[in-house]
Symmetry: C2
Subunit: 143 residues, 2 copies
């Protein structure tokens, strides 16, 4: 299952918020990335932005037609807008983000864009939640 | 005036939506970029994202402390969220974007982020508007 690949990417993250994402086209993973904001010292290096840029390079097109994204956490407004503008067909996400989730939880940017993007949240939710919970628990113990 | 530099960048854009942006720290421009979405075939290559990434490299930090952005068009949700998360101090923008502007016109993402970002819109507004209007006029004539 494609969410398992995104989960493995999230689990591979060290010392920053563990999020993983893959883009799937024709039943194949064409791009994969994890959050690298701290590693790359770049506020835009969320997993979703990185995986979109990788898929664009592969397809030589910013229009990611017939592509779906699997991501372990609900996208923030930055990532949600990039996903919508890239014309991604469907997003499957794991954990809901009640604070900053921009595909339904806090706001739904699809309404502003009048977008047809399909969204399914709560995929492998318990597993995705546990990855984030463990990360923040470890952070608190360290500090 | 720093907006003039952003305007010159917007005017230099060929064959895509003309937007220019600079980041200023201690009264100096530390990064400058124009929209390169079509040129780079990357949906994330808006002027604001590119100029943030350049400033991060220069400062070796994703926290753009005491930095201000001058941009010819009100940022979209993707760019507004990146600006907020980078901790930029103040955004000065030219044209208002009633369709997708995410710093007050369509929505205000500062409310979701509980952000202290200061925003001043309508700087050199007529000039910034005319650059966009001319671009879309030429596009219509071509098609």
């Amino acid at each position: 299952m494609f969410m398992d690949s995104a989960i493995k990417l999230a689990e591979s993250v060290k010392d920053e918020i563990p999020v993983g994402a893959v883009i799937v086209k024709d039943e194949n993973i064409i791009a994969a990335a994890s959050n690298r904001k701290e590693t790359e010292n770049d506020v835009t290096s969320h997993a979703e932005i990185l995986v979109i840029r990788e898929a664009e390079k592969k397809l030589k097109n910013w229009r990611l037609k017939d592509c779906d994204m699997y991501v372990t956490l609900e996208p923030c407004p930055m990532c949600a807008w990039a996903i919508i503008n890239a014309g991604i067909r469907c997003v499957y996400f794991g954990s809901y983000d009640v604070n900053y989730g921009a595909l339904g939880s806090k706001i739904d940017l699809r309404k502003i864009a009048n977008s047809k993007l399909k969204v399914y949240g709560g995929i492998s939710e318990k597993k995705c939640d546990s990855i984030l919970i463990n990360y923040f628990k470890n952070m608190r113990n360290k500090s």
